[in-house]
Subunit: 479 residues, 2 copies
């Protein structure tokens, strides 16, 4: 039940987000600190995200598998940077079957180490390469400050882990998966992400290079929405992942890893939602169309419900995800609010007058009020609706892109940078020194989100220190 | 690589099983005791099992969600039988984020308790009922003797958890899901299971009544392959799952739970496999058809590969899961053995002579040697192959059913029972006393697998004690 008004975004964005997640029944707090329950409506969205990504993974030659939840503590310690990065966040099993374990087991925070151990067993020859495996599953990181979807102790994700015979191939794989994430985010979720490279400070613990897709939320904060890492030979050396090359020489593999998690649901909510609730991008929406029948008297009911049933069947047949809300105990107005809260892209209202005229009333979720309303004939409805859903998807991407672009600034100097990052992103030259990076973070809370790909060769001066710089980066406060 | 001969089933069934799982690359031992890695070929089978079940769950009105991996120890203790059943098998997290936890967290062995806690929060009124939620995930039970797929510390499964306003509705749900499992096992996996009710001794810890589907493996041992439990109001009372009924009276819900796990992969292997390896039921097979091109000279290669490419496209278009094995470094004979080990239902061989004649050679996996070979025209191939796959599915079910039925005996007295359960199942009257049940178990290692459904009303004498009995049960040694 969700007819209570949300706290508006401009009053308290954080509170608005928390309310939406709960009232749209996307997720709930679990009775274990920092853990979440993903409710059926939220999980249905995740299933659609999974399907859209999995299709892309398989098209690029990957297969799925499942590796253990538990990792011996000693495995994590084999890669120095990796264990330093993750050890503060570990959940540790010390008792099994009533007895204290000789070696504690870590609940996986990520699986490079256990998968590395298996790859070292499976890979013998260049003929076994590349190995292109993905895993859908849960991981645990002991976070102190948690928020539903954005940061929870346990979360759901996919993690791809690949092994290659050459550095070039592994680098290509890293960029290929970054491209897959970008394509997914833009074309399925209507989230206009910016792909780019992480600074050394912000990279994954154990990687040579990390790449990311960064999205701007409506409070202008950045959300890291997916990452793809080039791991060099770091894990191959730690876990002895070696192969005999074509000349019979023993070599270490080159590996990558890449992941996207339920955090992405937070990106969808905070990119598209408004003060009435969620707005789901049609391509991922669990319910694309909701039909609300409207009637007062008994004879009206029968006629309306007959038409509703016919339209339901017609839409289902064309593959549209549609639901009829025939609840008796609540009014149509209540239902409108309810489905607006849940972000269903399109509503169909069918009443006695529509039966007479052979029409239905449509209401677009992305355009509130009269602007989004139209009356269309029942004949050919599924094709009309298909077109409108396509248009909603397009409009959502256009609106989010316009919002993002109008909040990216190119400050002329450092004082201006410190201002613009309070309500937007700064796109500025950076000299690649960690000192300048740290100074910005300390003084503004903004971090380097990424160095975007495809920059033309250019020369400028670091926005912080004025030294020569070759690349621009985005500075922003982030989730 | 799998051209080594398997230990034959009649020499050492257990060794045969272990070899198949590894050589067909279904699963591997993890470096953590008792845990497994499900390799891509095994996981592809599990994905097909998931799809076939998930479709049936959704058709019967269920939705998916995700509940936390961790359960506070105190939750398990709320249902007395439940904690007694599971406490010897628990993995316990005692350290999180570097600190000792105030309350240890159990890694879920099953989720009745944590889901019960959420249901008590979500369910207020009869209008919220029924709640019909399923979860796909991993669970952990600290088993001492483990075997890949059959019994591992961590395994993958689905667990359905439903809440209802009446006892009758919950009982109906329990039986509906037993029927869903039966339908899946018989019609998708060609595993002729027997659905029935568990004895009180064998039921789920915390249930009023447990039902099961029991399958006979080729060593005649029984494998419990899926279970559906009527939980009465036990968990509703332990977790205060209450609702206001239509008369505004507060009542406890009636709940059920039901699960099927990666153990079912073991059932498929041990029902259908032969001394050459796995035999996959076509409806679930990750690869239904493998094409092996055959050629010696260069000009032959081009012609053969052109036809192979055309047939590949044709079969894919009709939705057949097909793979071309164009490896250069191994012979066709090696490939035949390799795909036989992996149980691909149908092999197509295409050589220069086939190009001349416009034919291909087919080899059925379920009928070794000449019997399973045929030569068919390339024209209309996909329809021919569709028919053959249907026939393989049917033959596999018929063969497994015949094997099962020829190993079910109705012993005339107890001494005969003790004999037949050494190489089969005994179907006998039982007086429902735990003493008789325990005697059989102690003296023969056979347990009561189930009391099958749909028995006609009858009267007999208990095979153990001779007292009056109303129902027959299956006694068998089990996995």
């Amino acid at each position: 039940m969700s007819n209570e008004k949300l706290t508006p975004r401009n009053v308290d964005f954080s509170e608005w987000y928390n309310q939406i997640v709960q009232r749209a029944e996307m997720a709930d707090y679990a009775p274990v600190r920092g853990c979440m329950v993903v409710r059926p409506y939220g999980w249905a969205l995740w299933e659609n995200i999974q399907a859209a990504l999995d299709k892309r993974f398989k098209e690029t030659g990957h297969v799925n598998a499942a590796f253990p939840l538990f990792i011996p503590m000693s495995f994590l310690e084999k890669e120095k940077e990796h264990v330093e990065g993750f050890s503060p966040e570990l959940a540790v099993v010390t008792i099994g079957g009533g007895e204290k374990l000789e070696e504690p087991l870590v609940v996986r925070p990520t699986s490079e180490t256990i998968i590395g151990a298996m790859y070292s067993k499976w890979i013998q020859s260049y003929r076994d390469l590349p190995v292109l495996i993905n895993q859908w599953g849960n991981v645990v990181r002991w976070e102190l400050r948690t928020r539903l979807f954005l940061r929870t102790l346990e979360f759901y994700w996919q993690e791809g882990h690949t092994a290659h015979s050459t550095e070039q191939e592994a680098r290509e794989e890293t960029m290929r998966m970054l491209q897959v994430y970008t394509d997914f985010a833009v074309n399925e979720a209507a989230v206009p992400v910016i792909p780019g490279i992480k600074s050394q400070t912000e990279k994954f613990a154990g990687a040579n290079m990390s790449t990311t897709i960064e999205a701007m939320m409506q409070d202008t904060r950045a959300l890291q929405s997916g990452t793809s890492h080039f791991l060099g030979q770091n894990f191959a050396k730690a876990f002895e992942i070696k192969f005999l090359d074509e000349n019979n020489a023993l070599q270490y593999c080159w590996t990558t890893s890449w992941g996207l998690s339920t955090r992405f649901i937070g990106a969808i909510i905070m990119t598209h939602g408004d003060d009435q609730g969620l707005i789901m991008p049609p391509r991922l929406a669990p319910i694309q169309v909701v039909i609300v029948p409207i009637f007062k008297s008994e004879p009206e009911t029968a006629a309306v419900m007959e038409t509703v049933a016919r339209i339901l069947t017609e839409l289902k047949t064309t593959g549209i995800r549609v639901k009829v809300d025939d609840r008796k105990e609540v009014t149509p107005g209540f239902k409108f609010n309810d489905w607006e809260m849940r972000g269903v892209p399109l509503r169909i209202e069918i009443g006695p007058k529509d039966i007479e005229k052979g029409t239905v009333a449509l209401a677009r979720r992305d355009k509130p009020g009269r602007e989004g309303k139209s009356f269309v004939p029942q004949a050919g409805l599924s094709s009309i609706i298909g077109d409108i859903l396509t248009d909603i998807q397009k409009s959502m991407l256009a609106r989010a892109t316009a919002f993002r672009d109008s909040h990216i600034f190119e400050p002329k100097d450092y004082p201006e940078l410190t201002e613009v990052v309070q309500n937007g992103w700064a796109y500025s030259y950076w000299c690649e020194s960690e000192v300048c990076e740290a100074k910005v973070k300390e003084e503004t809370k903004a971090t380097i989100r990424c160095m975007p790909l495809g920059q033309e060769e250019s020369h400028g001066k670091c926005i912080v220190c004025g030294e020569p710089a070759r690349n621009k980066v985005y500075f922003a406060r982030a989730y």
